[in-house]
């Protein structure tokens, strides 16, 4: 489904990714953990081609998306991205936030887009009474769930989450995590950068630990968390 080979990226001489290898099978959820500055966010952005890697290759569904011949815009449509800061469009209602990609990017008719929006908004438990609201009138948890719906509506083959609950308090995080868990259980292929151990334990098929631009450890979540082998993982999971 997703294969990353030898990915490298530098910013102004600082190497952020130092040859990352990663694989994710269809229907699986992989959690990516690591200290800040490890390169997790850059890695996700490379998968969606928001950032161009310097070296290495990324395959999605067997197609090499890093090849210069590939249409960036088409790849991004296939890959959903959920941001830490939600990044909803401020001037659009909840409903329009979800449908704008469908009508403008995918060229769907309004009715079709509405039908699709109804499905995904129900899936993230955003009730109809909120559809006419604007982002500034929503709680953080509601915003993030709308953002998930917006990404999901495009019918992506892969969902990327970049610390989706880091900007939320525990209560609001919970409602977002519930939605994410449900999606993962339904078999939405997901790559999730998060610090939520419960999420990893409950629904992730694998857990990768990243440090200084490299994946230093990978395995079933319960194993990595209980018996971390690398020093970086130990530092992450040992509760003092």
């Amino acid at each position: 489904m997703l294969r990353i080979e030898g990915l490298r990226k530098s910013y102004n001489g600082m190497e952020v990714l130092k040859g990352v290898h990663l694989e994710l099978r269809e229907g699986e959820t992989k959690v990516l953990m690591g200290p800040s500055g490890a390169g997790k966010s850059t890695l996700l952005k490379c998968v969606n081609l928001l950032v161009r890697p310097d070296e290495g290759r990324i395959f999605i569904d067997g197609e090499e998306v890093t090849s210069p011949k590939v249409d960036v815009v088409r790849v991004r449509q296939k890959v959903g991205f959920v941001f830490q800061e939600f990044n909803l469009f401020n001037h659009l209602t909840v409903l329009r936030n979800v449908t704008i990609g469908l009508t403008k990017v995918k060229g769907m008719s309004k009715e079709e887009a509405l039908r699709r929006a109804r499905e995904v908004l129900e899936a993230v438990r955003i009730g109809e009474e909120l559809w006419g609201r604007y982002p500034a009138q929503l709680s953080g948890g509601q915003k993030q769930r709308v953002a998930i719906a917006r990404a999901l509506a495009m019918d992506p083959v892969l969902m990327l989450y970049d610390e989706p609950t880091s900007a939320l308090d525990p209560q609001l995080s919970k409602e977002v995590l519930e939605v994410m868990k449900e999606l993962s259980r339904k078999g939405v292929t997901s790559l999730v950068v998060t610090h939520e151990l419960d999420f990893a334990m409950e629904v992730a098929n694998s857990l990768a630990v990243m440090s200084c631009g490299l994946i230093v450890e990978e395995g079933p979540p319960s194993e990595v968390i209980r018996n971390p082998r690398s020093s970086e993982a130990r530092r992450l999971f040992c509760r003092v």
Partner: protein
């Protein structure tokens, strides 16, 4: 004829003044918005060119720009223009420089995360501009834009130097014809004042209608 009999003649200048202002604002908008996109997101070279354009137009008095266009540039290009058209071009060019600055700061105040999100869902740059940037920039810029209207309305009086039949030109006629200056110029001033207030109120009404609920200044 008594002074009061001249009032209709003076008021007939209002459509002329408004025509100057609306045409000037429209021209300024159609040039200023693309320029602001270059200023906010363009390459360094393109920005420099726009900066020079803005610097020239903001530093040249409208009167000089008008004279340069009407007597200098248009004739030397072999184009015959009426004073009315020359006035619109001068007002429009000058306004494009100001409007580009208004829209530039509006564009730059939009969080970059929204652009990232738009690109992440597969929007092309043109779609990001059309569906995410411009709709928000217009709303954010509306209060400053209302100020631009007020400035242009008053600046349009400068077109009397070319004899465009707007409010001030007519006031001058009346003053010459009747020998009284106080009355025609005072009425002219009050007309400008009323038009400014009316326009600013109308834009404020529009602003209340299109502002984004939940954001600063909305609700």
């Amino acid at each position: 004829m008594q002074l009061l009999d001249y009032i209709p003649f003076l008021v007939e200048g209002v459509p002329w003044t408004l025509a100057l202002v609306f045409s000037g604002l429209t021209m300024g908008f159609s040039l200023g918005l693309p320029l602001s996109l270059i200023e906010a997101f363009g390459s360094r070279g393109a920005k420099l060119v726009v900066d020079a354009y803005v610097w020239f137009l903001r530093g040249t008095p409208l009167l000089v720009l008008l004279s340069l266009l009407y007597w200098g540039i248009f004739p030397s290009l072999g184009i015959k223009v009426s004073p009315f058209i020359a006035s619109i071009v001068a007002l429009g060019l000058r306004s494009s420089a100001y409007q580009s600055q208004i829209f530039r700061s509006a564009l730059l105040s939009i969080e970059s995360g929204q652009l990232l999100a738009a690109r992440a869902m597969g929007m092309r740059d043109s779609q990001v501009v059309m569906h995410v940037l411009v709709p928000q920039a217009l709303r954010i810029a509306l209060p400053s834009w209302s100020n631009e209207y007020a400035i242009m309305l008053k600046d349009s009086s400068i077109c009397f130097t070319l004899g465009v039949m707007e409010i001030l030109t007519r006031a001058k006629y009346i003053s010459t014809a009747t020998g009284s200056a106080l009355f025609p110029f005072l009425i002219a001033g009050l007309l400008y004042l009323a038009l400014t207030r009316a326009g600013v109120e109308a834009i404020e009404l529009l602003h209340r209608k299109v502002r984004i609920p939940g954001t600063l200044g909305g609700e």
